[in-house]
């Protein structure tokens, strides 16, 4: 009975996720991250990624990992909105508070049907656990993979995990010599990425060429919790630090 209920929940989840406006790292950023990840996947892991995406009825081309990485930004279910953020306050950072108390998934509940009030850190752990568990339904594994492809990138967008009371930079204006005036969030989410190039595979190849073995060894240590704090600190020092606190408060 429980497995039937889970299957029904999963089917409901699959139907509920229909395309909607973008949420984080514009498409190009997600595609670049997916291309870099694909480069570093082992052959067995890449084979499983292709197999899962190939079974996904939402995706027209099963081997297009970059396209799958954008899927979670296009879904219309507002329940998943918070899952792309961790609202870590810049002056009083507190991960549990930023993650709504880090609620545990109710027993038997798929991560894709988890509480609306949860954060990107918890959701990465939950979806990774599901993907590792052979008892997870195939439909939920596919959803878990597509969310992971998207959310790990979001965790690394500094303004997704830092907020100085300006809605993650959306209320702070940015003016540069070479770009149209806009808000800080869009500047980081889109403008900077597009400046790297419009062809995601080419941008990814360039970045891969600059990644040393030492970088890789250092970067994989820690886990989502520490990676979020690292990204948050970049947001506080490297992003808000550049525009100045007065601008960030809208003064």
């Amino acid at each position: 009975m429980r497995s039937i209920a889970l299957a029904a929940l999963t089917l409901f989840a699959a139907r509920a996720f229909v395309p909607s406006p973008a949420l984080a790292w514009d498409d190009q950023g997600h595609r670049v991250v997916a291309e870099i990840a694909t480069h570093y996947l082992t052959a067995p892991a890449l084979g499983k990624v292709y197999t899962l995406l190939g079974e996904d009825k939402d995706m027209p081309a099963g081997n297009d990992v970059a396209a799958a990485a954008v899927w979670a930004d296009k879904i219309q279910d507002r329940r998943a909105h918070n899952w792309h953020f961790a609202n870590i306050d810049a002056t009083r950072p507190n991960i549990p508070a930023a993650c709504f108390g880090q609620p545990a998934l109710p027993p038997g509940t798929p991560a894709s049907m988890g509480p609306e009030r949860d954060c990107v850190i918890d959701k990465i752990d939950q979806f990774a656990d599901e993907l590792a568990d052979p008892k997870t339904s195939r439909e939920e594994q596919i959803l878990a993979l597509k969310f992971l492809l998207n959310l790990v990138a979001d965790l690394h967008q500094p303004l997704r995990v830092a907020d100085e009371g300006d809605t993650h930079g959306m209320k702070t204006a940015v003016v540069t010599k070479d770009t149209t005036p806009g808000d800080l969030f869009t500047f980081w989410d889109k403008v900077l990425v597009i400046q790297m190039g419009v062809e995601s595979k080419a941008v990814a190849q360039k970045l891969i060429g600059e990644i040393s073995e030492y970088d890789r060894a250092a970067w994989i240590s820690g886990g989502p919790h520490l990676w979020a704090l690292e990204s948050h600190q970049l947001g506080v020092d490297g992003v808000y630090g550049m525009v100045g606190r007065q601008d960030a408060k809208g003064n």
Partner: protein, 132 residues
């Protein structure tokens, strides 16, 4: 923003995209095609975890919850509990030592002796709960 700031922003964005790609691959490799290693809970670690606990209580407890029974109040409440660090995905003694040996913006630049590093990482890994 000045041209210098834009250049700095481009560098940060490029690094974050690269980190995200490497870490995404790391997670997917770990969950879809894990390679058996000596990092599983219960596997012997190098170092003296009891000495590591004493060192951590003296050195790290100003920011971290090192042990549930620690008495001293923390100066910061942002740093993760050692239990949470131990249970982070992919956390092994090697990964923890690599993390401590490389600079991180959220932590002081620790200069641990090789023995201190082995002891404190042995202690942290010993806190890992066998959840997976």
């Amino acid at each position: 923003m000045s041209d210098d700031d834009v250049a700095k922003a481009q560098k940060i964005a490029a690094t974050q995209l690269s980190r995200a790609g490497v870490r995404l691959a790391y997670i997917l490799n770990d969950v879809l095609a894990p390679i058996p290693s000596g990092a599983a809970p219960g596997v012997k670690t190098i170092g003296n975890s009891a000495a590591g606990r004493v060192f951590a209580l003296a050195t790290c407890s100003a920011c971290h919850v090192v042990a549930q029974d620690q008495k001293a109040p923390r100066d910061l409440t942002t740093a993760p509990d050692f239990q949470a660090i131990a249970n982070s995905r992919g956390m092994t003694q090697v990964a923890m030592r690599t993390f401590l040996a490389s600079p991180h913006p959220t932590m002081p630049n620790l200069r641990l002796s090789p023995q201190q590093s082995m002891d404190v990482t042995a202690f942290i890994v010993s806190l890992k709960k066998a959840t997976r």
